[in-house]
């Protein structure tokens, strides 16, 4: 039975898993769970992952959620090249350290930019107050600075001379605001250079294929959104006002 990966490439963690699996030639069935259509709430998907989140992995009877464990599982099961999750004690710890930090320091704020810049105005027709936007952008700026100073430093990649899971996860997260035309790489040439290195290490074709759905997000016609659903989204989005 072939490995199944349940994903929507709009989600950064899904892109990390997708790119990793494709790059390493891991055979899998792509099960497209359309976030824009709310398929992650369908009965079929809830059976796979009651947390209703993407990505999920299904390997025979073994089901796994959360992108970080999925990446580690694929590394181990398919014995991918060691630079992805280095065996050296210290280098491996660096990857673990980054993977733990990024949940709240990168993933959440980067998602928020996409919401603030694109999805909230698009769905509700209203802009988020400038002060909130400024606050969010400031937080992201601070975290990117921390990323450069602590995780990247003067190295080519986070662990040194080679790309690892940490770089992959970092980059797909930082790409998320691109869906709203916000480019976090503009302010720092160091970050921009690192971004290019990671893209080249992955392969430009694969990288942009994985990001295609994200960069086209502004073309999404959300006017067909169910009015009741739209109302619920608006309520939910009050938090960001």
């Amino acid at each position: 039975m072939v490995l199944e990966l349940y994903m929507d490439l709009l989600s950064a963690p899904c892109r990390a898993v997708y790119i990793f699996a494709r790059k390493n030639g891991i055979p899998f069935d792509f099960q497209f769970v359309d976030l824009l259509k709310g398929h992650h709430h369908s009965r079929e998907y809830i059976e796979i992952n009651p947390l209703r989140k993407l990505p999920s992995l299904k390997d025979g009877n073994f089901i796994l959620s959360e992108s970080v464990p999925i990446l580690l599982y694929l590394c181990r099961k398919y014995s991918t090249p060691s630079h992805w999750y280095p065996p050296d004690l210290h280098m491996r710890a660096r990857v673990d350290e980054f993977m733990a930090w990024q949940h709240t320091a990168l993933q959440l704020p980067m998602s928020k930019i996409l919401w603030i810049k694109l999805l909230i105005p698009m769905i509700t027709g209203e802009e988020v107050p400038a002060q909130k936007t400024e606050q969010m952008l400031e937080e992201v700026k601070n975290n990117l600075q921390l990323f450069e100073e602590k995780f990247l430093q003067d190295r080519l990649f986070i662990t040194g001379d080679h790309i690892s899971l940490a770089d992959l996860v970092a980059l797909v997260e930082m790409m998320q605001p691109m869906g709203g035309n916000h480019n976090v790489f503009l302010n720092s040439s160091k970050l921009a250079e690192w971004r290019m290195r990671v893209e080249l290490a992955i392969g430009t074709g694969l990288f942009w294929e994985a990001h295609d759905r994200l960069v086209k997000l502004e073309e999404w016609d959300c006017s067909t959104l169910n009015p009741m659903v739209k109302e619920r989204i608006c309520e939910f989005l009050q938090k960001y006002k």
Binding site: S11, H39, D96, V229
Partner: protein, 336 residues
Amino acid sequence: MTWQRDPGMPVPSWQGGDLHPGFRERESGRAGALLIGPKFSGAIQWAGRAWPGSDSPGGSAQLQAPWPSKQFLPVVVPVPGPVPLGLPAAPTATPTMGLELYLDLMSQPCRAVYIFAKKNGIPFELRTVELLKGQHYSDAFAQVNPLRKVPALKDGDFTLAESVAILLYLSRKYKTPDHWYPQDLQACARVDEYLSWQHTALRNCCIQVMWQKMMFPVFLGEPVPPETLAATLAELDRCLQLLEDKFLRNQAFLTGSHISVADLVAITELMHPVSAGCQVFESRPKLAAWRQRVEAAVGKDLFQEAHAVVLKAKDLPPADHAMKEKLRPLMQILLK
């Protein structure tokens, strides 16, 4: 398996169709709001604060308030400079220095690291970083962890932040018994899964409950609107249900029949609302039984030793006006 696909919708390339699924939706279910997933909602963003205590070192020495250390993010409001208080035994580490663990047992992830190291007989120097006194903002500590958070580890020249990374590092370096972080592919994945999920799930709930139920009314003397507290407790309840249904299920421990680092991280997290007076275990016999097992596996004495500080948090004297003012921006975040 189909996902109620509209027959007019193009089939994605990886299922044999064109490269780009179209965005013209004929019908949609619950959609974009949940694009980023439920963890996007209700996540607490912490503004790290230059901790009170920098103005009046003498006065603040009395207070032993718990301080949620883990999820400090860089401040939105400018921080008024590094806190002048140094570490109690400021180490300019010599190359021969052994393992040092920088901890404050008020913090949940610090307790997990502490218990793990002690249980496995790992020799270390405990460096207490008192969050209350803002010691995590000192220049000395920034040398150890530029993220200015606890726990942090220093092993010779090697420094490491993040409790999950520290636990895994210790398990590998000191070759702790396999059950803590198993070699088996699937067993290991289960531990990884819990360690990943908890960052944005249980962690947030537990901190919010601690602050809204206890720290605000008792320490800060600020009332919390009943509906806010109710919503927070409901969220905690939801997380606990997930903990039982998705992770614990009918197993002895969270990821199988043996204790692992996942159980340590979870139990230390849950002791936060417990110390605030929440009846986390009383209404949940399954979780209560799991707690007993974890305590027994860790050793009751070690467990109580690790939790002595946080369990006394309810006996705090109230904060003075200066401290309350400093905490005001943070309070707004904690009350969301």
